[in-house]
């Protein structure tokens, strides 16, 4: 199973093995990673699962949809070039090792 490494707002790191097809948000929520709210449950409606994708993974992801890109325009924490909504990141074998960091605030 692909591994995803999470960096919590306090800097603590945890690596989880996730099912292919699951989302990076789902993995974090199931395991109780700090720094994510995911209020809408993965509908791309709330922007409270905002994460920063660490190098070199940004270019390996499926690009953000129009909706995701627009949701990202006004996230609660600083928006950066590597900002993504973790509910829109689907786990795949090619993403084994993907590393994301959650910001200080989501709402």
């Amino acid at each position: 199973m692909p591994r995803v490494r999470y960096i919590e707002p306090g800097g603590r790191e945890r690596t989880l093995e996730l099912d292919v097809g699951s989302s990076v948000m789902r993995g974090a929520v199931d395991a109780g990673i700090d720094g994510i709210e995911a209020q809408c449950g993965g509908n791309c409606a709330c922007a409270t699962c905002h994460c920063y994708v660490q190098p070199p993974w940004l270019d390996k992801l499926v690009p953000a949809s129009d909706d995701e890109r627009l949701m990202l325009t006004n996230v609660a924490a600083e928006r950066r070039p590597n900002s993504r909504l973790s509910c829109q990141l689907t786990v795949s074998p090619a993403l084994d090792g993907l590393t994301v960091q959650f910001p200080e605030r989501q709402s």
């Binding site: 789902r26 929520v29 199931d30 395991a31 109780g32 700090d34 709210e37 209020q39 809408c40 449950g41 509908n43 409606a45 709330c46 922007a47 129009d66 909706d67 627009l70 949701m71 325009t73 006004n74 928006r79 950066r80 070039p81 900002s83 709402s107």
Partner: protein
């Protein structure tokens, strides 16, 4: 001994889970007990009227938090448990099985129940309402049976739940009639121009919409309900009836214990009840605003934000919930996102394409922006949310001008960087 009793949270939905989680995040280190009256561990309700109806799947996809998350945060979960009374003098809860539980402090997150249809025949088979996973599965199955048998699905209530169910039923191939008592859809929360857009979309998808329809009784058929009668003398054939006429806050426990209630447990901005050792959050509450009005919100955001306030209050801190309320609804391919409270507006302007529909309605009161409904206009929603959260307002002329960038107001207030990011 009381100091060693756990903080107990009654209600294991969105608000209850968030209170527990926030207590840990705020540094509470002692025992924490989360009591739920359903068999399932905490799960999300919004999908139950949306994609879950189309494809009921594994419970795990609806889980609010995984078992590992609760374990990691040392949140003890007690499911299938009905609390029947609060003994405030003894700081104890009375459970249905006779057990008594001590609490050091108490949080109530008891949610709401679907409002029952107050007419004869409402107890017939295949008359369903939506609140739990089980309800959603039953509605999904009933709609499929209707689709297969060529029987109509009758939805009573043209609000969010009713319309989401109607949209899902059409996708599943059933004939659908929506009976709404008032003259338009979602009239309690939106302007006519938004109601009209949804009216067109539902009709374009083949939904029969009837307004001013006063349901008088339900008639039995071969198996369960067979027809819905309205005051105009019509009988509407029905293979199943979905009742979506709002919810009733579950405040019985609190009211019986003498806490101040008024169709909801009364709380302040910090989620405090009339008892200083008891807080409440989510659908079960009615919040007293600064101007004295009572606000009852049924939404995920309200549950989450009140829960954060409640957790802070339990630890003696003030964390008022002041963010603009927001909601969302999915109907067909329209993403409806609403922010603010439009109640009392005196002007509405729109930007975008009303026919498509892909537009936003901006509500003003005395020239100030108070709410925005966005139909498939994600950027308008996100920008408006930031504007309202920070007390900023475009003029009505600016809001209506498609060339005016709302983002420029955020930039001026230094709430956004120059590139729009």
């Amino acid at each position: 001994m009381a100091s060693q009793a756990p903080i107990v949270i009654v209600g294991a939905g969105q608000a209850g889970v968030q209170i527990a989680e926030s207590l840990r995040q705020e540094g509470y280190g002692d025992e924490l007990l989360l009591i739920g009256n359903e068999a399932h561990p905490p799960y999300q309700r919004p999908p139950l009227s949306k994609k879950w109806l189309l494809e009921p799947g594994a419970y795990s996809a609806l889980a609010l938090r995984g078992a590992e998350a609760l374990l990691r945060r040392r949140i003890e979960l007690k499911l299938d448990t009905e609390v029947i009374a609060i003994d405030r003098a003894a700081s104890q809860l009375q459970l249905a099985d006779g057990e008594r539980l001590d609490y050091s402090k108490l949080a109530l997150a008891t949610g709401a129940s679907a409002r029952a249809l107050p007419v004869p025949g409402a107890a017939l088979g295949q008359v369903l309402s939506l609140r739990s996973i089980g309800d959603s599965a039953a509605i999904s199955a009933a709609i499929r049976r209707c689709a297969a048998a060529g029987r109509p699905v009758v939805v009573i209530g043209g609000g969010f739940i009713g319309l989401e169910v109607a949209a899902s039923a059409r996708k599943l191939g059933a004939a659908v009639t929506v009976l709404e008592g008032l003259p338009r859809l979602m009239s309690r929360v939106t302007a006519p121009i938004v109601s009209e857009a949804f009216e067109r979309v539902h009709r374009a998808h083949g939904v029969e919409l009837l307004f001013g329809a006063q349901v008088t009784r339900l008639l039995g058929g071969a198996d369960g309900v067979g027809a819905v009668c309205t005051a105009d003398g019509r009988e509407h054939a029905a293979g199943c009836v979905i009742v979506g006429i709002g919810v009733v806050p579950d405040d019985r426990l609190a009211a019986a214990a003498g806490l101040a209630c008024d169709r909801g447990i009364l709380v302040d901005d910090c989620a405090r009840t009339s008892d200083e050792s008891i807080v409440a959050a989510g659908d079960c509450t009615a919040r007293r605003l600064a101007d004295g009005r009572l606000l009852r919100l049924e939404s995920v955001q309200n549950a989450v934000e009140q829960a954060k306030s409640a957790a802070a209050a339990l630890l003696g801190r003030e964390r008022p919930f002041v963010a603009a309320p927001w909601f969302w609804s999915d109907q067909y391919d329209i993403k409806l996102q609403m922010v603010g409270l439009s109640h009392g507006y005196d002007q509405v302007v729109t930007r975008g394409d009303l026919q498509k529909p892909a537009f936003s309605a901006f509500y003003f009161r005395a020239g100030r922006l108070i709410a925005v409904d966005s139909l498939s206009r994600v950027q308008d929603h996100m920008q408006s949310k930031r504007l309202l959260d920070h007390g900023l307002s475009p003029t009505p002329e600016q809001a209506a001008d498609p060339l005016f960038e709302l983002q420029s107001l955020l930039k001026q207030a230094r709430l956004a960087t120059a590139d729009g990011a």
